[in-house]
């Protein structure tokens, strides 16, 4: 099975979810801010290009795990991934597309603003703070996905 975690590109939520899925981050305690930065750096997330599906590892059940950086709207992306996969012969149940964008309201706008700023300035503390806030929700999402 192919598991694809996707989120708006500058946000770290897909990276964090993939790391939890692969056992690189502990599910029972929040990682330090430095650990989140290191995970993002480990997956070369900063240099990732929107739309490219990056393989990042295989989990203990043999499922391939991927990261997909995207823009802020995911509707077209979801239609394309599911529809084109069907055309290419991907069977139902062979692919899981997991949206890790759990932020809402001012956090979503804040992420958008600070991530855009981060492109110029470099630091991305807001996305890291956001991960700190939604970490256990991401853990639940990954556990739900793993079934």
């Amino acid at each position: 099975m192919h598991v694809i975690y996707h989120c708006p590109h500058p946000s770290f939520s897909a990276v964090t979810a993939a790391a939890i899925h692969l056992g690189l981050l502990a599910p029972d305690r929040k990682p330090s801010l430095r650990a989140i930065f290191e995970i993002a750096s480990y997956f070369a997330w900063k240099r990732a290009k929107k739309g490219i599906i990056y393989p990042v590892g295989i989990d203990n059940r043999g499922n391939m795990v991927y990261l997909l950086p995207r823009g802020f709207d995911s509707t077209i992306l979801q239609n394309v991934v599911t529809g084109v996969s069907r055309v290419l012969g991907g069977g139902k149940g062979e692919l899981a597309l997991v949206d890790t964008d759990l932020s809402a309201g001012r956090w979503q706008w804040g992420t958008l603003f600070f991530c855009s700023l981060g492109r110029i300035a470099g630091p991305r503390f807001f996305p890291v703070l956001e991960i700190n806030r939604i970490y256990f929700a991401l853990v639940r999402l990954v556990e739900q996905q793993k079934g």
Binding site: L77, G83, V84
Partner: protein
Amino acid sequence: MYYCYGSAHSSVIAAAIHLKKLPWDRIPTLAEVEIQERFDRTENWEIGTPFFMGTDREGNEVYTLGLGPDRIMIRRIIASLIKIWNYPAREILLVDTLVCIHCLTRIGGFLSRKLGLVTIGRPLAALGIRLSYNRLLELVQATIAQVQRADYTKNDTLDPIQKI
């Protein structure tokens, strides 16, 4: 796979030409354009879904697809999916039909699909199709020729995400 912005106009007509549902020797009437399956029918939430339009005489499946505003990102996703599913690159050809489109189709499409003004937008979009019909026909003919060319079918490494 013919693609445009919303898979409602130019890609639908290109697929209809490919499948010989529209004439190759003359420009179709407005009514002939408007009655085409899926012409000016695709809703915004359906953008990105590939629609199967039929199978041509050579047995090739013909689809239409809308890529929305971020075409580069969606093309990258398709290229990634081809790799993930180990699909032979020579078996799929993506053709951009937006290069042939007339501005009346853009305006008509916007009025009909975005603003819901179907009564004004649809005939305008169809008129734009009539005005760009010869270019669309040439594009389809070039596509069919490329599919049939021996060098294309033998070349495994050909980039499927290309513009004709």
